[in-house]
Symmetry: C2
C-alpha cells in the first residue's frame, strides 16, 4: 500500500520504518518541523513536508501519528477524497473523523515507543477499529503485514485499555523513578533493583498480578509500614501520601 | 558450611535449596508447622522440627527466614553459643540481635520469591551486613558460593533500599492488579498489556526511569487526563484518587 504519515514523532517514525521494511511505500511525511519530516523521509525514501496542505490525495491510507489535541485540526486540513484516514491514539474517539472523512479508523499500537529501543512488532498488540467493514478489513490486512497480534476492540474497550495502560506503564515507570530517587539519596546504585523489577514482571506472565502481591501491605505488617512512613516523613516527605494511599488500597483489596 | 534454617517459607526454602546445591550441609529446618519443616527437610536432606528449643548449637550459621515480627522472639529462644545468626529482612535492624547473640548479621536477598518461579541467583543481589569484620567475611564468602552479586550496605542504605523496593516491586505489582481489574471489567484479556509492561522495564535497563517517563501526565495532556478521570469516576471510582495523585506527582516532577 501507499501510505502517508502525518507526524514524525516516536509513533510515526516506528510505523513508517516498519511499513517501509514490510514492502509498503511511504509517500509523504509531514511534520510541523521540517527537520523532523526530512529525517524520517530520508529513512523511508519518501517526500517530506511541513505544510499540511501540500499532502496529496493519492496515497491509500493516511496515518495521523500526532498528539491527541492536534488530531482534529490536522484531519480537517487534509483533503484526501475518500481515502482511509486513521489516528493512533488510545484516548481519542473513532468518531472524531465523523463528518470530515468518509472512511476512517483507529490503528493503535499498544506500546511505549522510545527513540533508543526498537519496538518489537512480533510481540506488541495493534488494536484496530473502523467506521465500516471494508475499512476495517483493509486496516487489519495492513496491520498483519507488520505484526501478528491484531485485536478488533470497540470504543469502550479501547478507552479502558488506555486507562489500564496508564496504570501499568506510565504510573509504574513513575514508581521506578521514585525508587531511583530514594536510591540516589542513599548513594545506592538504582541498578541493584533491576533483578527485582524484572522478576515482578516475570511473575505476572504466568500468574495474575492480584494473586502474587507481596510486601508489607498485603501481609498487613504494620510494624514495617510504620517504620517506612516515619522514614519517608523525615527523608522523602513528598512520597508519604502515595505510600499511605497505595498501602491502604492493597490492604483493602484483601477484604474484597 | 553447616547451616540451620529457621523458617520454611518462600525465602527459607529458596536459600536452603540453593545452599544445599552449592555443597553446604543443611543441618536442621524449623517451622512452626511441622508439615512445612518436613517438606523442606526432605528436599535438603536435613532434620525437621517445630520446636525451636530443639535447634542444636552445632551448626555454623543460623538463618532466620521468618516474618519480621517473629525475628526477636525466635532469636531469643535460640541457644547457639557464639555461632553466627542472621536474619533475611530488609526492614529489620541489625541491632535486633544486640545483647542476645555475639556474632550476627543480615543476609538480605533483594528479590521477590514465589513458589512457582525459581529465583535466579546469578542475577539477584544479596546485601550483607554484620556486627564484626570476621562475621561479615564469613557471610560474604558464603554468599559468594551461591551468587555473584554481593553488596555490603549499611543500615540506612538497607532501610531505604527496602522502601525503594516496596515502590518498585510491591506497588508496581498493585498497579498491574488495577490494570487487570480494569481489563476484566471491559472483557479484555489482561495479557494484551504484557508486551507494554515488559517494554517499560526494558527501557529502564538502559535509561534512567526519570528520563523515559511517558503518558498523559508528563505531556500535561489535560484533555486525556480529564477523560480518564471522568471514566474512572463512573466505572471504577476506587482508583480515582490514585490516578489523580500520581498524575499530579508526575506533573510536579517536571518542574523540579
Amino acid at each position: 500500500l501507499n501510505i502517508s504519515i502525518i507526524g514524525a514523532g516516536k509513533v510515526g517514525k516506528a510505523l513508517a520504518i516498519k511499513f517501509k521494511s514490510a514492502g509498503h511505500q511511504i509517500h509523504q511525511v509531514f511534520s510541523r518541523k521540517l527537520d523532523h519530516a526530512k529525517a524520517l523521509a530520508e529513512l523511508t525514501d519518501s517526500e517530506p513536508t511541513n505544510d499540511i496542505h501540500s499532502i496529496k490525495n493519492n496515497a491509500d491510507i493516511y496515518f495521523l501519528a500526532v498528539k491527541d489535541d492536534a488530531i482534529l485540526e490536522l484531519a480537517t486540513s487534509l483533503n484526501i477524497n475518500q481515502k482511509i484516514i486513521v489516528h493512533c491514539s488510545g484516548a481519542t474517539a473513532l468518531s472524531i473523523f465523523e463528518g470530515i472523512h468518509k472512511n476512517y479508523g483507529v490503528f493503535y499500537p499498544l506500546q511505549t515507543f522510545s527513540p533508543d529501543i526498537e519496538p518489537d512488532f512480533s510481540e506488541l498488540p495493534i488494536c484496530i477499529a473502523a467506521n465500516n467493514f471494508e475499512t476495517e478489513e483493509i486496516l487489519t490486512k495492513l496491520a498483519k503485514t507488520i505484526c501478528p497480534n491484531i485485536y478488533q476492540i470497540n470504543e469502550g474497550q479501547r478507552k479502558n485499555l488506555h486507562i489500564a495502560a496508564v496504570f501499568a506503564n506510565n504510573f509504574s515507570n513513575y514508581l521506578y523513578t521514585i525508587a531511583e530517587d530514594i536510591c540516589i539519596r542513599s548513594e545506592i546504585d538504582f541498578k541493584i533493583l533491576l533483578p527485582l523489577i524484572k522478576q515482578t514482571v516475570r511473575k505476572i506472565e504466568s500468574s495474575k498480578p492480584s494473586e502474587v502481591q507481596t510486601g508489607p501491605a498485603i501481609r498487613e505488617d504494620h510494624g514495617t509500614i510504620q517504620k517506612h512512613l516515619e522514614s519517608l516523613k523525615k527523608e522523602a516527605p513528598e512520597y508519604l501520601d502515595l505510600y499511605q494511599l497505595m498501602t491502604n488500597m492493597i490492604i483493602q483489596s484483601k477484604n474484597k
